[in-house]
């Protein structure tokens, strides 16, 4: 076994024999001695192979009864496998649950000794640690009271305080966090983080997918006593959530419904669901369209005459929010002859399970023919961790006071820093991604401030028109959040000033838009270190050009604000516009490589007056003077003495 492997499991098998009549007495055992024993075999582990690396936080998930607890018990040595090998290197914690061996008739203090000893501590060690244990449990006043007078919460606190003293290199934990109040759970999580930092190996069995995702480095999914998936937590949790749904996609078998009722004069049959491409499926992407169909079977031909009174309802139940969306319509005579189709644009809700229900009833007499309540499970996939949309009676966009907008393409190096930076000034951010081909979108989807993303998947050649249209699409989405202010930034811009405070203050009351003074940063011979992932872009370069562009980046949200014309970065805004705050613009100075790519990009994709200019700039990433032939200055100087070159109408006023 390699040195860094803490647990190695090879070819593990375990069956449980479940007797039909349990022989718990000699009489039945002797009387049945010569009868054939009748029992059913329950497989708890079937060819389980995996290893846990030293220092790893390893999660095990699965449905109830799948065999995950049995596996944990075999690791702990409580159960003996029928076949296979478990190799453990390091000291294993012997316990799976908290408060093992607690005796209600002993005082808390005595129980600390008893429980501590069971966890492998000596009396001397407990003597040394008992004050610490009592302090951690916050039960100082009760320590000499009998345990039976403790609330369950107090008992868990006491148990946990002892448990963390057990010295083990490998901890096996079974669903500990299901107990205790929120404050105590937080304390548990803190301890887990500590244990993780100390390099302990932890095997954690839980149903709480949130904590599994938060802590585990790797996760194993057990289904029907076998390993169904193992690896990246997100992926395995997804496999867990969609267990069984993959197979259900083929509509051959009619699903059993626990809550089906009705007199079945009319029956729902052949319920099936299809994705955008017409493939039968039970897993759908947020924002895609679900198409469904079913047919009706009539037992008695006479029933058809009722058609006009029959109402069919298709409902979609949101498990997370406990909400149901319904759509009903009256039956048409032809519905008996052909399939009934329906379609739902699946909103961008948080990744979760949903259920379809179908009800056929008589709208006049309220007679229920067939009700299949929550009979068809589907799974909604959403790449975004914090989607904005939430379900209330219908699907709502929350109100965001200051909304940031970003339009990006292939920015994997700087995008995290950009989102973190922009979050200081805005409440939430929406993003237009222009067909990125690198990891930009992964970062965007997982950022806590990002609440919606428009994915442009096809790259269109005519950039000038296209970019204006993209900005307008972003603005249209922004308006759904009814923001007070919209802040439109680019990924390579960094801002200075108390922008958020200003927008929320009374000073901003009469203001309709704000221009921010933007200066270009330049790479110089001495300052040309390339920007790397993890760096902070604000103040990344020393030197800036004096040329100042006052660009309209923040405006008060009004329906009449629109992007018009060709390649317009600024929207058309009427009213009071002020100039305030500063912006460092890094478009040309991230790295020499980036500079060359930018030159190529503009030269290739933009009309002649642009492309000629950018073609000429190739190979000239390192500057001594600005592109406008003025000397370069440090930021503080530039900020004070900038020469205004934009807006164009004011040219001349600014240049001395």
């Amino acid at each position: 076994m390699e040195k860094d492997v803490a647990i190695q499991v090879e070819g593990l098998y375990k069956d449980f024999k479940i007797p039909h009549e349990k022989h718990n007495s000699l009489k039945s055992a002797t009387l049945n001695l010569f009868k054939r024993k009748r029992y059913s075999l329950h497989k708890a582990a079937e060819d389980i192979n995996f290893e846990v690396k030293s220092g790893e936080f390893f999660g095990i998930i699965g449905k109830n009864g799948c065999g995950k607890s049995t596996l944990l018990k075999m690791l702990a040595g409580i159960y003996v496998p029928d076949a296979g090998k478990i190799t453990i290197s390091g000291r294993l914690s012997p316990f799976l649950e908290l408060g093992v061996g607690f005796n209600p008739d002993l005082t808390a203090r005595d129980n600390i000794y008893l429980n501590g000893t069971i966890l492998g501590l000596s009396r001397k060690e407990i003597d040394e640690k008992i004050d610490e244990i009592i302090a951690f449990s916050e039960l100082e006043e009760f320590v000499d009271q009998k345990l039976k007078n403790f609330s369950s919460g107090m008992q868990v606190r006491l148990a946990f305080s002892v448990a963390i003293q057990a010295h083990a290199d490998i901890l096996l934990i079974d669903e500990v966090l299901a107990v205790g109040d929120a404050a105590f759970q937080k304390k548990c999580f803190d301890v887990f983080r500590d244990l993780k930092k100390q390099g302990k190996t932890i095997v954690f069995v839980s149903h709480g997918m949130d904590s599994i995702e938060q802590f585990c480095d790797r996760v194993m999914l057990i289904d029907n006593a076998k390993i169904a998936d193992i690896g990246d937590p997100k992926r395995v949790i997804y496999s867990y959530n969609t267990l069984g749904l993959q197979q259900k996609a083929s509509p051959k078998k009619e699903e059993k419904s626990d809550s089906r009722w009705g007199n079945k004069k009319i029956e729902v049959e052949n319920f099936s669901l299809y994705d955008d491409k017409g493939n039968s499926s039970r897993i759908f992407d947020a924002g895609s369209t679900i198409n469904g169909s079913f047919s009706l079977k009539v037992r008695n031909a006479k029933t058809k005459q009722l058609a006009a009174a029959v109402e069919i309802t298709v409902a979609l139940y949101d498990v997370r929010n406990n909400l149901t969306l319904t759509d009903s319509r009256r039956l048409k005579p032809e519905d008996f002859e052909q399939k009934i189709n329906f379609s739902i644009d699946m909103p961008k809700l948080q990744e979760n399970k949903f259920y379809f229900s179908v009800v056929v009833r008589n709208a006049k007499s309220n007679e229920v023919y067939d009700e299949r309540s929550k009979a068809y499970e589907i799974y909604l996939r959403n790449k975004m961790t914090n989607p904005a949309l939430f379900a209330s009676k219908s699907f709502w966009y929350p109100k965001v006071d200051i909304l940031g907008m970003l339009r990006i393409r292939n920015e994997e190096n700087i995008i995290r820093d950009t989102l973190d930076h922009l979050s200081q000034f805005v409440d939430k951010i929406i993003v237009f991604d222009d067909a990125s081909t690198d990891k930009t979108l992964d970062i965007v989807y997982n950022h806590p401030s990002v609440i919606d993303v428009i994915e442009n998947k096809t790259w269109k050649k005519n950039r000038v028109e296209e970019e204006t249209a993209n900005r307008q699409a972003l603005l249209n989405l922004a308006q759904k959040f009814s923001p007070e202010w919209i802040f439109y930034a680019d990924a390579d811009e960094r801002f200075e000033g108390d922008i958020k405070q200003f927008l929320n203050s009374g000073e901003a009351k009469n203001v309709d838009a704000i221009r921010i003074s933007l200066f270009d940063a330049y790479m110089t011979e001495k300052d040309k270190k390339p920007f790397k992932k993890g760096d902070k872009l604000l103040n990344f370069r020393k030197y800036f050009g004096l040329e100042r562009r006052d660009i309209l980046m923040i405006w008060r949200n009004k329906p009449e604000v629109t992007f018009e014309g060709l390649d317009q970065r600024e929207p058309r805004v009427d009213g009071k516009i002020i100039t305030k705050f500063y912006c460092q613009h890094y478009g040309k100075s991230l790295s020499e490589k980036h500079w060359e790519e930018t030159c190529d990009y503009y030269a290739k994709n933009f009309p002649e007056h642009y492309s000629v200019k950018w073609e000429a700039r190739k190979g000239k990433a390192i500057h001594e003077k600005s592109d406008f032939e003025t000397p370069l200055y440090i930021w503080e100087k530039v900020r004070k003495n900038g020469l205004q070159i934009h807006p164009a109408t004011e040219i001349g006023k600014g240049i001395k």
Binding site: I78, D105, R123
Partner: protein, 259 residues
């Protein structure tokens, strides 16, 4: 047999059991003295006044008390040891440790009670003018043999009890038979010689009789009468311990599933 770090656990469990046994009663562990003393009182009256069996034995009160207390130890220790695995099912399903720990710790709880009782016997013996000699120290060896015997039997009982709960009832009946099949209340010499030989094959009879011999200093009823068999009880004790240990260990791997 048991790794070093499990001695702590045995100790802690034994102390806990002892504490809990006499908790919430005003007299506490004095009950463990009162019970055998009361039983002794009843037997004493019955066998000296009614059946007049005891009159022929010197120091009959001490003779009887020692027998009652030693048999009581046997009955108590085997009974609790039999229950030790089943009653700690919760622990067994959730923690790994050698299951033998539970059997040992429960018998140790009984040993504590026995030692307290023997102090009382000792005090009464002094009052009854029993002459203690160096030979009385053999008692320690005999008690060790007794303990080994109890552990050996307990391995069987505890392991079988997990599978068959009938063992509990069987053992209760068996102990009643043992009580009268062992010369606890009556002197061995009143039974026919052939019967006596068979009785003395039992380690229980051998230990109780030998204890009386080394403490009370007369040999009328000791095993030395039956020297040809003298080694048989000890062999039985050794065989029970070794076989009990292996059977227990073999069955112990399934305790967590079956308990």
């Amino acid at each position: 047999m048991i790794k070093n770090n499990y001695y702590n656990l045995i100790k802690e469990l034994a102390i806990t059991d002892f504490k809990i046994k006499y908790q919430e009663s005003i007299l506490g562990y004095i009950w463990s003295l009162v019970k055998p003393l009361a039983y002794f009182g009843v037997l004493y009256i019955v066998f000296t006044r009614v059946f007049k069996l005891g009159n022929s034995i010197p120091y009959y009160p001490i003779y009887l008390l020692l027998g009652v207390i030693l048999f009581g130890f046997w009955a108590d220790a085997t009974q609790t040891a039999m229950n030790s695995i089943v009653s700690r099912g919760d622990l067994i399903r959730k923690v790994y440790f050698p299951r033998i720990v539970l059997v040992i710790s429960s018998t140790i709880t009984s040993v504590i009670t026995l030692l307290l009782n023997l102090i009382v016997v000792f005090v009464l013996a002094v009052f009854a003018h029993v002459h203690f000699t160096w030979e009385s120290l053999w008692m320690i060896v005999l008690l060790f043999e007794f303990y080994v015997f109890i552990v050996g039997v307990s391995f069987y009982l505890a392991a079988l009890f997990v599978k068959f709960r009938d063992v509990g009832h069987i053992w209760e009946v068996a102990n009643q038979i043992f009580f009268y099949a062992t010369p606890v209340v009556y002197p061995l010499k009143i039974v026919p010689d052939r019967m006596g030989k068979i009785i003395m094959l039992s380690p229980l009879a051998q230990i109780i009789q030998d204890c009386r011999t080394v403490v009370l200093g007369f040999d009328a009823t000791s095993t030395s009468h039956y020297w040809r068999f003298y080694i048989m009880p000890q062999i039985l004790v050794a065989v029970l311990l070794v076989s009990g240990y292996f059977i227990f260990r073999k069955m112990a791997v399934r305790f967590a599933e079956e308990v």
